[in-house]
């Protein structure tokens, strides 16, 4: 494969990762605020269908994307209401929504199956697109892909460089402490869950109006994407940059699976497709194993210097989730 085609291939990877990028960013925000939105798989399907339907009827791409975001926000609102206001298990509510929204999208989407609606096409950025390498990679994409790039930067800056972002970090750790500092924890949780949901909702149209244009019900090949995005969020360790990297890694592996299909005939084609999951599990293993009882026991048996080394290593790998993730906040 020539450098040219390689670059184009990688550019394609960046584009095909865009929806997942939105999803993982949304989930990261939501979980940072202490609310785990497990409904992603359903949300993405529903917003993909809804976004397409709206775009088809109004013949406006932007209304389509808007609809997707709204749907995502709406589902998130239910999650927030159930978990923040009614203090029900976030996992339970999210899971139910994941299944329900999926079936709802199939039910309501039936009339739109196989229709050809509007679709986003690439808009190369003048000058920049002519730059060697980076031009091909980054500046010959479509609008939504550009938006995905920007979102990564914005979310990262927001969390690590702004005042509200600092509060957001705190909220995942100790809501009560945020509260006594004058923050309205539950209101903020609503806000971030809904904003996160809207981002997740963008993933839908990013598929149905750009990458995998149209709506084909079950055979749209979207069922499962949400779970993958969830896995990637965890892989990203609640850091938007790392999460985005995870999304790109996933898309890259998919592409690799395709280009290697006829070269490495020995590898079953499923292996690279399913690779992200073992990867996620391994990552979780690495960051968590340091906290387990038996590892500490083993460490204790080691002689001084080696013990020091491993203890350091384990502590370095450790990346614990927001302490208050999934826990409702009560003042009294």
């Amino acid at each position: 494969m020539t450098q040219e085609t390689l670059l184009i291939g990688l550019a394609g990877v960046l584009a095909s990762a865009a929806p997942i990028v939105f999803a993982v960013l949304g989930e990261t925000i939501s979980e940072r605020a202490g609310v785990i939105n497990l409904s992603m798989n359903g949300t993405i399907l529903l917003s993909a269908m809804g976004g397409f339907a709206v775009a088809y009827n109004t013949n406006s791409l932007w209304l389509g994307f808007l609809a997707g975001a709204l749907i995502g926000a709406l589902v998130a609102l239910i999650v927030a209401f159930a978990s923040v206001t009614l203090q029900q298990s976030q996992v339970a509510v999210g899971f139910v929504l994941a299944l329900t929204c999926r079936d709802l999208s199939y039910f309501l989407g039936n009339p739109y199956m196989g229709l050809t609606g509007p679709r986003l096409t690439a808009t190369p950025i003048p000058f920049l697109s002519d730059l060697p390498i980076v031009g091909v990679l980054f500046f010959r994409q479509d609008a939504i892909t550009y938006l995905s790039f920007i979102s990564i930067a914005l979310v990262w800056l927001w969390i690590y460089r702004t005042r509200p972002g600092l509060v957001l970090q705190g909220m995942g750790e100790k809501p009560a402490a945020v509260y006594i500092r004058g923050g309205n924890v539950n209101a903020l949780r609503y806000v971030y869950t809904i904003v996160g949901g809207a981002l997740i909702g963008l993933a839908g149209p990013a598929f149905s109006l750009a990458i995998r244009a149209g709506w084909m019900g079950t055979i749209s090949g979207l069922d499962g994407v949400g779970w993958i995005a969830l896995a990637i969020t965890i892989f990203g360790g609640w850091n938007p940059a790392r999460a985005a990297f995870g999304a790109y890694l996933f898309a890259f592996l998919q592409w690799l699976g395709l280009v290697l299909q006829s070269t490495f005939t020995e590898i079953p084609s499923q292996v690279l497709q399913v690779a992200p999951f073992p990867l996620m599990i391994l990552t979780l293993l690495f960051v968590n194993i340091g906290n387990t009882e038996w590892v500490e026991r083993m460490l204790a048996l080691l002689p001084e210097p080696t013990r020091k080394f491993f203890a350091k290593l384990l502590r370095a790998m450790r990346a614990s989730p927001p302490a208050a993730l999934g826990a409702p906040f009560e003042r009294d």
């Binding site: 702004t162 972002g165 600092l166 402490a177 026991r297 013990r307």
Partner: protein, 491 residues
């Protein structure tokens, strides 16, 4: 800033935590709030700081203006800041971020400026805090200092401290008191909550006493201690006679035991505990005593040395092995570590018995529960869920779970958050165990308790462990010094 509380009421379900409290605190005063556990002190303060809201009809008047405080945000706006009983900060974050979090300002963070402000404040109060370090590396005292700095920087004119002296060293206490006096000189109103008489006596010009949610009296310095005690408990209480039950037989013996965790390192501990003996562990929180105690239970791994239990070598064995040999550990965090919310008393007792067989023997269980509840006079029935019990009753339930026979009882803060009567009752129960030959090792941040109930004392300071000190030959002062890290040469 002058504060006037009028007709403050607060209900928690059936609990009437604050009953018609009326109190006037003049500007610049250091107001003490005293009361036994559960008297309603924290509740009152949480109301004043907006953390919770009082029942309707209650009034708060600030410098003559009637105000409503619906949230901490409001309180902050009115210049009221509170240092909570358990520090509300963000352990995994840096000091400077903790300091910044919640401060007003522009959208973007300005770390440079924050650093300068931080440094300036730290200098003013002589706090030695590194803004770049992480909160989870600080002692409780230092975390308090951090909070105080933050509150003052927020412009607090009223500073509420809820039991700030639990778990800080004598040295830190002195520093804290100095700071508070300085603040009141700047006509900042300080409200100091405690159930330690001498703290109030040393610091506060005036004190209000709560009992059972009511304001039962106000006093001015100089105070007479007896009056205090009477107000707090409704009667004069005296600690029981101090008697030792130590016998000859050895239960636990440690030689050259070495321990370490993420923060603390302990080297070469040697200790022989005799049957019936009570060992008190003193030290400011996180000095290593908790690690030491968990090691004695097999909950923390030793990295060197031997732990012998009644002649058997249990080094590196798990807690369950220790338990089988007759060691029980009662953690401080009851509902988190010791009891199972959602299960009732009977189920707890059944679980503690390790019954064999497959099917639950209901009648037997009820009988067991009934007699335990009776003999530990727990306020609650076999079927009442553990979390619905009061703190003291939960503590009693915990004791009722101790297995028999038993050779070593390890207790973390066995009476924290309990009023003096519960304390006496519980120690009575524990001493019964000593009579039956059990040894006790316990941690407490209350030096009086340690002196009162231990035969020998180990003092911990930053991982150093003193040689066993005969309780009869030491004093609160000496212990205080050691805890603060002074006078270790001869210890």
């Amino acid at each position: 800033m002058q504060i006037e509380l009028k007709r403050i009421h607060k209900h928690f379900g059936k609990v009437h935590a604050n009953k018609d409290i009326n109190l006037l605190i003049p500007s610049g005063a250091i107001q003490g709030i005293l009361g036994e556990n559960g008297a309603g002190k924290s509740t009152l303060m949480k109301i004043l700081s907006g953390f919770i809201q009082a029942d309707s009809g209650s009034e708060i008047i600030l410098d003559g203006k009637r105000i409503t405080i619906d949230s901490p945000a409001d309180a902050i706006r009115f210049g009221i800041g509170m240092l909570h009983q358990d520090p509300l900060d963000f352990p995994p974050m840096r000091l400077v971020d903790n300091f910044l979090l919640g401060l007003p300002g522009g959208l973007l963070l300005n770390h440079k400026k924050a650093m300068q402000d931080f440094a300036a404040l730290a200098r003013e109060f002589g706090f030695a805090l590194d803004p770049e370090s992480y909160v989870d590396t600080l002692t409780v005292g230092e975390r308090q200092q951090l909070e105080i700095m933050r509150l003052l920087f927020l412009g607090a004119r009223v500073l509420i401290l809820d039991e700030p002296t639990t778990g800080i060293s004598a040295a830190q206490k002195e520093k804290l008191f100095a700071t508070l006096k300085k603040l009141s000189a700047q006509s900042i109103t300080v409200i100091f909550v405690s159930h330690k008489l001498e703290d109030v006596e040393n610091l506060c010009g005036r004190a209000a006493v709560l009992r059972g949610g009511e304001l039962v009296g106000e006093l001015q310095a100089p105070y007479e201690t007896l009056k205090f005690v009477e107000l707090m408990f409704g009667k004069v209480v005296t600690l029981g006679e101090k008697q030792s039950l130590a016998q000859e037989a050895l239960t636990l013996s440690l030689n050259n035991v070495a321990l370490e965790d993420a923060r603390i390192k302990i080297k070469h501990v040697n200790l022989d505990v005799r049957a019936g003996e009570v060992i008190g562990l003193a030290g400011m929180e996180g000095s290593g005593q908790d690690l030491f105690m968990r090691a004695c239970a097999g909950l923390a791994r030793t990295v060197g040395g031997r732990i012998q239990f009644k002649g058997q070598n249990l080094t590196g064995k798990s807690y369950h092995t220790f338990k089988r040999h007759g060691v029980n550990f009662l953690p401080a965090a009851r509902l988190e570590e010791a009891l199972v919310p959602g299960l009732n008393l009977m189920e707890h007792f059944i679980l503690a018995e390790h019954p064999s067989g497959i099917f639950i023997d209901q009648p037997a269980g009820e009988k067991l529960a009934a007699e335990r509840i009776q003999s530990f006079n727990i306020r609650g029935g076999p079927l009442s869920n553990i979390e619905s019990l009061s703190g003291g009753n939960q503590q009693r339930a915990e004791l009722a779970l101790l297995q028999t026979p038993l050779d070593l009882i390890l207790l973390e803060h066995p009476t924290r958050g309990l009023d003096i009567e519960s304390v006496i009752y519980i120690w009575g129960k524990l001493k019964e165990r000593c009579q039956q030959g059990a040894s006790i090792i316990f941690i407490s941040s209350d030096l009086d308790e340690i002196l009162q109930y231990s035969d020998r004392i180990l003092v911990f300071f930053a991982g150093q462990v003193s040689n066993p000190i005969e309780a009869s030959q030491t004093s609160v002062e000496q212990l205080g010094q050691l805890i603060g890290g002074k006078g270790w040469a001869d210890a």
